[in-house]
Each structure stands twice: as structure tokens, then as C-alpha cells.
Symmetry: C2
Subunit: 402 residues, 2 copies
């Protein structure tokens, strides 16, 4: 990752201020902008209860170009009715006036508590302040990153470069999210928020086409509590400022690979910072009947509170994993299946395998655990990232609102 950051791709600036939305008094209103019009693609929550900024954002992304993103944390502007829509639209209008563009060139984002109307006086002051703060340094990138955090305990960022012809394309991203994380982003559809920048030259349809598989294999493959938020949003802006045109199949593949890596590293960081998490648990399902079954089985295992508690206790309780695999509608044949925990086979073809429980338990006492389930009935695979379920998760979530 070296010293790359969200504003390393050429053509982008960001700014953030403390507007008094977060009770903590930390940075909470921010702008990310592209100096010229950027091609853009976005995916939003597929929850039928979606926040006002998601509704407005779906409209604004339709043309495939944006000048910027305006975001606040501390209030999700969700379940706020018509007033919420007016407020999300007002955020765009205020930001557009600062950036000298049309309101529909701005994508709004909000994250925080559900069911409270935005304090628009503070929001307006915040957006104007963030516009004054715009810059392209690592400090600006960091301030933007800080402003989008809610229950996150650390920043999440990733970046990668890829050679396209004689040009170097940079892809960078930041994201937030620690709870209410079970995104299932759909086309023009997290409170996972992910913002990606790149200086590639790429058409909006091509960007959209590449962003979807990258999101499917990253943000849509991370789950903390399987609770799909009203505000989940992932958006990428391409400035074109590198002069590297993505228009051959080979270059598109290179770009997709780099984009997928960046998204996956961001998703991994969400799992690692899951509320109360002490470790990342990677569920690898291989040789499933088809892609859908592979993903369904991986997700069922990743979402089982029994599996997650066992991981918290460094407990090689493989019966919970195998039984979770069998309880979905997906094809699963115990007699053909094999399960390994941290590389140790514990179950093979419907039967237990003798193993040193103390040794395997020791191997689970680390910050990244891999459970690999070979279904033995096909060629499809899926990886889902989750975290363990700790007492701290309960503490954090039993007292969030009041």
C-alpha cells in the first residue's frame, strides 16, 4: 500500500470539518471532488427501506458523471420521509454552489442514527466549511476518511497502481462500517460507505460494468451482523487525469483485477474492525455446485452466531460449521465434503477426523482465521469475510441509541 492515499489518483481534492453532527464533536461533514467532471458508477443498498440520500443518489448517478460527493456522519437521514429527501437534495445544492456545478452532479451520503431529521443549519455550515478546506494532500485524504467514521475504531483505506500502456493508473479508496454490515449492493443501489477514486480514462458504461463484479467479490462478501443497512453506498469516480485509456479487453482485465484488490482489501478492513471483533474469519467454500450455492453456503457459515462465538473462544467446534453449510437451500452432500480449520482437516466425507484439539485451538488464537470447506460436487468457489462474535459486540449494540 506504501504511501498512496485517496487523493493519490490525479484530479481529486477533499475537505472536512467538524459541524457538530457527531456527539463526539469529531469531523463529520466532508466533500470529495474531482476538478473536472468524472465518469462515475455507484451501487446502493437493495433494502426496501432506503435512506433519502440513496434515493437522490440513484437519480444523480444515472448519467454516469459526477463532480463530487458530499457526506455527513452522525445522522443517516433514513426513515425521514419527504423532509429527508428535501434535505438530501439541499445538501447537493449547497455543495454544488461551492463547487460551481449542477446539484445533479453531486452524490449525497449520510451515515449514523436512523429516524432523525438532519440539522440543516449545521449541515449547511459544514458543507461550506468543507469546501473551504479542499486540498489534495495526504492530510486532506485523512480528514475525509475520519469524517465518514461512526463506530469504526480505525481508518480503512487501500490503493494500488496498474500500468496501462506507458501510463500508470492509480486506484484508491476509503470506506467505513463496523456494524449493520451485511451489504447486498445492487446496480444503481451499505451503512457501509465506500468511496473510490481513480485517474483512469474510462467511459461510464465500462466503469459500471467493471465496478459491479469488483463490488460483488468484496463489499458484498463481507458480513458482520448480516443486517443490510438503509444507507449502504459504494461509488467510484474516474478523473481521466492519468491519460491512461481503458479500452482494450486486456487493459480492462488489469484494471478490474486492481480494482477488485482495492475493494477486497477495504472489505477485509471492515471485517477486521467489526464491532467487538478480535479477529477476521475468512470462509472459503470451494468445489460447490455453482457460484450461487458457493456464496450461499459461505454466507450461512459466516453469519452463524454459533460459529462466530466458537471463533471468539478459539474453539474448533466444526459441527457448527458443517451444520450451517447444510441448512441453506444450496446443494450440499456431507459424504462428499471436507472441512479444514487453519489448514488442519477436521471433517472428511461425512465423518470426523481425529485431530489435536489443543493444537488447532492454538492455531485459531490469531487475528486471521481461515475455514475452508470443500464441497466436492462442483467447481464453484466463494470467499466471505466476517469476524468473531464477542461480548463487546453486545456491549456496543445494547446501548447505542439511548
Amino acid at each position: 500500500m506504501s504511501d498512496l492515499h485517496l487523493l493519490s489518483p490525479k484530479g481529486f481534492r477533499a475537505g472536512a470539518v467538524k459541524a457538530g453532527i457527531k456527539a463526539s464533536g469529531n469531523l463529520d461533514v466532508a466533500i470529495l471532488t474531482c476538478d473536472a467532471s468524472a465518469t462515475a458508477a455507484a451501487m446502493f443498498t437493495t433494502n426496501k427501506v432506503f435512506a433519502a440520500p440513496v434515493k437522490i443518489g440513484r437519480g444523480h448517478i444515472a448519467k454516469g458523471s459526477l463532480r463530487g460527493i458530499v457526506v455527513n456522519a452522525g445522522n443517516a437521514n433514513a426513515c425521514t420521509g419527504k423532509q429527508g429527501e428535501k434535505d438530501a437534495m439541499a445538501m447537493c445544492r449547497i455543495a454544488a454552489a461551492q463547487l460551481k456545478c449542477a446539484p445533479r452532479e453531486i452524490l449525497p451520503s449520510s451515515t449514523g442514527i436512523i429516524g432523525h431529521v438532519l440539522p440543516m443549519d449545521k449541515i449547511e455550515m459544514g458543507i461550506k466549511g468543507a469546501a473551504q478546506d479542499l486540498g489534495d494532500t495526504v492530510e486532506h485524504a485523512t480528514r475525509f476518511n475520519d469524517a465518514i467514521m461512526t463506530t469504526d475504531t480505525r481508518r480503512k483505506l487501500a490503493a494500488e497502481t496498474v500500468k496501462v500502456g506507458k501510463h500508470t493508473v492509480t486506484i484508491a479508496g476509503v470506506c467505513k462500517g463496523a456494524g449493520m454490515i451485511g451489504p447486498k449492493l445492487g446496480p444503481p443501489q451499505a451503512t457501509m460507505l465506500a468511496y473510490l477514486t481513480t485517474d483512469a480514462q474510462i467511459s461510464a458504461p465500462s466503469l459500471r460494468k467493471l465496478f459491479q463484479p469488483a463490488v460483488t467479490r468484496s463489499f458484498n462478501a463481507v458480513t458482520i451482523d448480516d443486517h443490510q443497512s438503509t444507507n449502504d453506498t459504494a461509488v467510484i469516480l474516474a478523473s481521466g487525469a492519468s491519460n491512461a485509456k481503458i479500452n482494450t479487453t486486456v487493459d480492462a482485465k488489469k484494471f478490474l483485477d486492481a480494482l477488485t484488490h482495492v475493494c477486497q482489501f477495504l472489505a477485509y478492513q471492515i471485517a477486521a474492525d467489526g464491532e467487538g471483533a478480535t479477529k477476521v474469519v475468512r470462509i472459503e467454500v470451494v468445489n460447490a455446485k455453482n457460484d450461487k450455492d458457493a456464496a450461499t453456503i459461505a454466507r450461512a457459515i459466516a453469519n452463524s452466531p454459533l460459529v462466530k462465538c466458537a471463533m471468539n473462544g478459539n474453539d474448533p467446534n466444526w459441527g457448527r460449521i458443517v451444520s450451517a453449510a447444510g441448512m441453506t437451500g444450496a446443494a450440499f452432500v456431507p459424504e462428499k465434503s471436507t472441512l479444514a480449520l487453519q489448514g488442519t482437516t477436521v471433517y472428511r466425507k461425512g465423518r470426523p477426523v481425529a485431530f489435536d484439539a489443543m493444537e488447532v485451538s492454538k492455531s485459531l488464537a490469531t487475528n486471521e482465521v481461515v475455514a475452508r470447506l470443500d464441497c466436492g460436487i462442483g467447481k464453484s468457489s466463494a470467499t466471505v469475510w466476517t469476524c468473531d462474535l464477542s461480548k463487546d459486540y453486545v456491549t456496543i449494540n445494547a446501548d447505542y441509541h439511548t
Copy 2:
């Protein structure tokens, strides 16, 4: 419930012993038997990873008649391959020899740890001992009830009488289950175990036809961790000893209502004794588009760790409930929906309703909480029982195996 118990319906006896299967040394092998051949119906787990006793039980229930049930706790005989099947069959053979019937007239059940072969010497001694212990007193019913418990902290029993003509029919049941509870029982398919007795005279096809809707509206409507077990089993035996024939539509309806009440009260007790639970949470979804959508929405809310933690904290965080309702494939229109917590409306038609958060929080600090969601788009309803998610749940499940 008065003083009715599992053996109140005429024609049944039970026995139980300490066979050394449970580490605690408590009662762990038991027999429930009908003096004459009983008509019988059963439903088992739909998990593709199902235990050996489930496989054998499916075969034995096919004819619709049974003489008895043999059960052990402390070892689930699941993921034990061919040896497991032999052992489950041996349990039937040993019990049948004691009860002077054919092995296929016995339904075997097991609950406990997954992936360990049964200690058949202890099991054999246990079954013979349980057969010596057979009797029809309340003490025998209680001993049977104790023998099937694992992480349960209390007995779960229910019973009801219903007049059929000039005869009185008694329906009684016991069940166990506190964790790995998310049963989805299917026809000839919990480690929920439920055993019901009745002295009604009813044909096997009629009993099967009435048992399914009763199970759907009770055991299939309780979830603690949404983890469907390998061993879930619900079975009912009808001795006929009351001489009350169930063969009119009116009588069948009366019997079904009473049976449903008994099953629902048992299911309620499972939620109340959920691992670490401090309260029962009843999710009522009304006016949904159709029955399937109503059940899907109720289950999504009941399974959300965020909702369950909020309930643990007496936190009226209704945004978690509404967002859970929207994240399933079921039809849901925020603008038509209304949510009440303990009778206080907190959300109406897509918008928050002002309420006294302290008062509602106080109303949540009790042992039974009702969240009622009116979807406003149809006439279907569903009720799901769950419990809160506490730190004790994590403690119990992080250290169960090792």
C-alpha cells in the same frame, strides 16, 4: 396448565436413567412408550447434514405407528457416518427387545455434541435401565423431561384438554432446546426435540395432517440463533385410550387448536430459555402481502443481532427493526408501514413518531416484549418468538466444546 403432564394422556409410560453420557452425570437416557401401538406423526430437520437417528426415524415413522421413543442426551450421533446409523438402529433394537415390539416401531433421538460416536456400552445399559424404570406418574414424566435437557436451564412442558363428544382428550408435550435453535421442520423431518402425547383416537394420516400446521405455527416460528440443527425432531403419539374419535371436521378443528396451543406454549418456553436470554421477544407482523412474506419479515427481524442486542439493552432503536423488515425479498413499503413497541407507536408510514424514549425503554425492561409491525399492504400475519442477545450467550457459546 394445572397439574397435567406428559403422561396425563391415557396409555403412556416413561422411564429414565443416568447412563454417564452427559459429563454432568445427570439423567441422559430415556424411553417414552405407548402400552399399545400408537398412531404417530413426526417432523424432522430439513438440514442436509442430518444425524443418524433422524435418518432411521424417517424410515420408522413412515408407517404412521410407533410403540415408543428412545432418546439420549449428551451426544447427538451426528456426522458419525455409517457407524452412527448402526448405533441408532441398535438403540431401536435394544429398546424393542425391552418393549416386546419390532425395532421399526421405535423412533430414536439424540442430542448433544456433534461428531462423536455413541458409547454404545453405556447406551445399552441405559436403555435397559430406562425400561426397568417405566411408569406413568408425574415423577416419571419429570424424569423423562430432565433426561432430554442439554444447555436448557429449565423443563419445558405444556398440556391441554379438549372435549370431543362426551369424551375428554388430553394433549401433552415436553421439549428441549436453548441453542442451535432455528428449526425448519419439514414433513417426515429440531436440536430441538419435542415429544407429544395424546389419548385421542385418530388415524395416522389425520394426525400427520394436523401436526404439520401446528408445528409450522409453533416450533418453526421460534428462533434463538437461526442455526438449524442436525437433530431437530418433533413427534406425536396418539394412544387412542380416551376412546374419543377425531373424525369430524369440527372435532379435528378443536383438536388442532388445542394441539397448536400446546406446541406454541412449548415453543414460547424454548425462546424464554434461549441461551443467555433475559426476555422473550415476540415479533408480530400483520397485514403483510401474503403468508410467506409475513413469516420472512418476522424471521428477519427476530434474527437480527442488532435488534436482539437493542432488546437486551431495553433500547427502543426502531430503525433496526424497520431496516430488518426491508432487507428481505418480501414485499415491504415503508410509506404504508407502522411499528409499535409494547403498544407505543414509534414509526408510522415511513416516518418517525415522537415518543417518550425513557418511557418506552422502561416498558421494554420486562420478561416479554412485543414488537408489532403493520405492513399495511395485505391481510397476512405471522408471529415469531425469539429472545434477546446477551453477553451470556457469547460466554455460553465461546467455550462449549473445549
